[in-house]
């Protein structure tokens, strides 16, 4: 049994009158692909934002690699080893793809003002290494031919890949992806699945918010289901499909795969 990478207990977050998260607890194991699903408004992105330091929870705890994440700012969370992508793609639009990924290397490199001004041997070596690694990552996600294009000129699918490359540049232990397949067609989604599988095989644990049930079922080892800010199930993907509570939560909402939400036995 692989070790626990991230352990969350009873996380609660409130915004004015809305209880976005209500005592949510779950754990992610090293090396798995962990899915997070739920109807719209269930609190998935809020949970992401709590994990990555954008919001602070009112109560509960989160441990990552044995240390607490509470009270950390987003840049500190990135330093600890969690990198994320965003539901609405937040690339550095007017910088090139290459520069976007190079910025991902920021957290693992050191050169500061003096290095910038004096360009000593150490800084120069670091700069070369940053560029090399960024090119590698662009190859890895399959957009190396677009290295010098501005991020905002990339086609939609490439932008999502770029965001993943940038996140990978931070050398995360946990890669948190917020709806990476949104807006993708079947071919692109298949390619994404291969990519994510490859990332997991290369040693990075993945946490994934998704609405595409086919992708979730095919890719994820275990899945957490949220509804109205509460956890209603956490189990292996196959079991989640059959869970009546989950089916009930989705009834009347979007149906991605024919069998799952309508209660037909798989």
């Amino acid at each position: 049994m692989s070790e626990t990478l991230l352990d969350a207990k009873e996380l609660s977050k409130r915004f004015g009158g809305v209880q976005a998260l209500s005592e949510v607890g779950f754990s992610i194991r090293q090396g798995e692909i962990y899915g997070l699903i739920g109807p719209n408004g269930a609190g998935k992105t809020s949970l992401f934002n709590v994990l990555t330091g954008i919001y602070q929870p009112e109560s509960g705890s989160v441990g990552f690699c044995g240390k607490s994440l509470l009270g950390l700012k987003p840049n500190q969370v990135a330093e600890r080893g969690i990198a994320r992508t965003f539901q609405n793609i937040r690339l550095f639009a007017n910088l090139s793809a290459l520069e976007n990924v190079m910025i991902g290397r920021h957290v693992r490199t050191r050169a500061g003002v003096f290095g910038a001004i004096f360009r000593d041997a150490g800084t120069l070596a670091e700069e070369r290494a940053i560029e090399r690694r960024a090119v590698e990552l662009l190859h890895y996600v399959g957009i190396a031919d677009r290295a010098n294009d501005l991020a905002r000129h990339l086609p939609y699918g490439d932008q999502r890949r770029l965001e993943i490359a940038r996140a990978l540049a931070t050398e995360p232990r946990l890669l948190a992806l917020d709806e990476p397949a949104a807006g993708m067609n079947a071919t692109e989604t298949r390619e994404l699945r291969t990519l994510l599988g490859g990332i997991r095989d290369d040693g990075t644990t993945i946490l994934l918010i998704e609405h595409d049930m086919k992708l979730v079922m095919n890719l994820c080892d275990r899945v957490l289901v949220l509804d109205y800010g509460r956890k209603i199930a956490e189990a292996a993907a196959a079991e989640i499909q059959r869970d009546p509570k989950v089916i009930a939560a989705y009834l009347g909402g979007e149906v991605e795969t024919a069998g799952a939400a309508k209660g037909t036995a798989q």
Binding site: P74, A83, H106, G112
Partner: protein
């Protein structure tokens, strides 16, 4: 056009270009002196403004932070120099000691201002920095009682010129058979420092730090998510910008031999901002162009407009100063409406400020 100077692509052409420009810059003060000695001072002012504009460019152009009180750092640098190298306190420290001190004090003020305020949203930050600039000016104007620190509105004069040993920058003298006036000597020193500042800026832009600044400007939330400590990096932008202004301020003090709070008002801040905006925010050659244009053009206006009016109407109806500012205002509005990325935009800024912008990545 920068590709013109890319020594890697076309070495012969690039080096010839650089040589020509260097020659032109070296001969410029002598050509200017032929037109009139005042024009050498104009050149020196242009160089000072280039320094200021480049410093502000780090804050506004690279990091995307709007500072409307930038001239306060210039004032700090100028007054530090004036206090430490003039009869006012009887201190006459050498310039190579005082200039760095001025830069450091200005840097300190930059950090003091930035620390509590950099988390504010764009327009609020602008207003707060404006307020800070005014506070500095008011204090400079009033710190003459009960203890006379700044000599109030009268300012401090008889400031020491730069000198080492028996060589002084203010004296006219003959070196190697060529006549150098005081301002011409200052020109070469200012030119050297300006070139240094340009090199530093280019290096900053193409570094890990420069990329971090641009990341913050593009999307602060994403920058933080990628591990950039946005607070410290923004503070660094403020501090660096302030330091450059501090150095320029010290040089201003020495070349003028006189400082007063009048030179450091809101309009001066806006003029430097205009140079950055009109020239091409974030683009170093553009900003230099903006600074040169906005220093030389008004002088040119004054040189021609007032005599012209006297000839045509028998008197000066509209002072050049008024027209200069009016043209500034109109230029600011016009540029934002029709060419928001500036006269010589970097590729980056042009895309960011064009109004039909709605790329998926935004």
């Amino acid at each position: 056009m920068i590709a013109f100077f890319d020594t890697r692509k076309n070495p012969k052409l690039a080096w010839v270009g650089i040589a020509l420009i260097t020659l032109a810059l070296l001969l410029l003060p002598f050509a200017a002196a032929l037109v009139g000695t005042a024009w050498v001072r104009v050149l020196n002012f242009a160089l000072l403004y280039i320094m200021l504009a480049l410093g502000l460019n780090i804050v506004v152009g690279f990091a995307g932070l709007l500072d409307l009180g930038y001239i306060a750092f210039y004032a700090v640098g100028a007054y530090v120099y004036a206090l430490l190298a003039s009869p006012h306190f009887g201190l006459h420290w050498p310039f190579w000691v005082v200039l760095p001190i001025g830069a450091m004090v200005a840097c300190l003020f930059g950090v003091l201002l930035g620390a509590p305020t950099l988390k504010l949203r764009g327009d609020y930050l602008a207003i707060v920095t404006l307020g800070f600039g005014e506070i500095i000016r008011i204090f400079l104007n009033n710190l003459n009682t009960p203890v006379n620190i700044t000599n109030g509105p009268q300012g401090i004069n008889l400031i020491d010129p730069f000198s080492f040993g028996s060589f002084s920058f203010s004296r006219n003298e003959k070196i190697a058979g060529i006549d150098f006036s005081g301002p011409q000597k200052y020109y070469f020193l200012l030119l050297a420092i300006t070139v240094l500042i340009i090199v530093i800026n280019v290096r900053l832009q193409n570094s890990r730090l420069g990329r971090a600044w641009e990341a913050i400007r593009e999307d602060e939330v994403a920058a933080q998510a990628m591990g950039i400590n946005t607070r410290n990096v923004k503070l660094l932008a403020f501090a660096m910008g302030a330091s450059f202004a501090g150095v320029a301020g010290g040089m201003f003090s020495a070349t003028q031999a006189f400082v007063s709070p009048e030179s450091f008002g809101l309009f001066e801040s806006i003029i430097v901002l205009s140079m950055v905006v009109l020239g091409g925010m974030g683009n170093i050659p553009g900003v230099i162009l903006g600074a040169v244009l906005l220093t030389v053009f008004p002088e040119f206006l004054r040189y021609t407009m007032e005599p012209l009016q006297s000839q045509l109407f028998g008197r000066v109806i509209v002072a050049a100063e008024t027209v200069r500012l009016l043209v500034f205002g109109i230029a600011l509005v016009a540029v934002m409406l029709y060419r928001p990325a500036g006269l010589w935009p970097s590729e980056v800024r042009k895309r960011e400020l064009t109004r039909e912008d709605n790329g998926a990545a935004k």
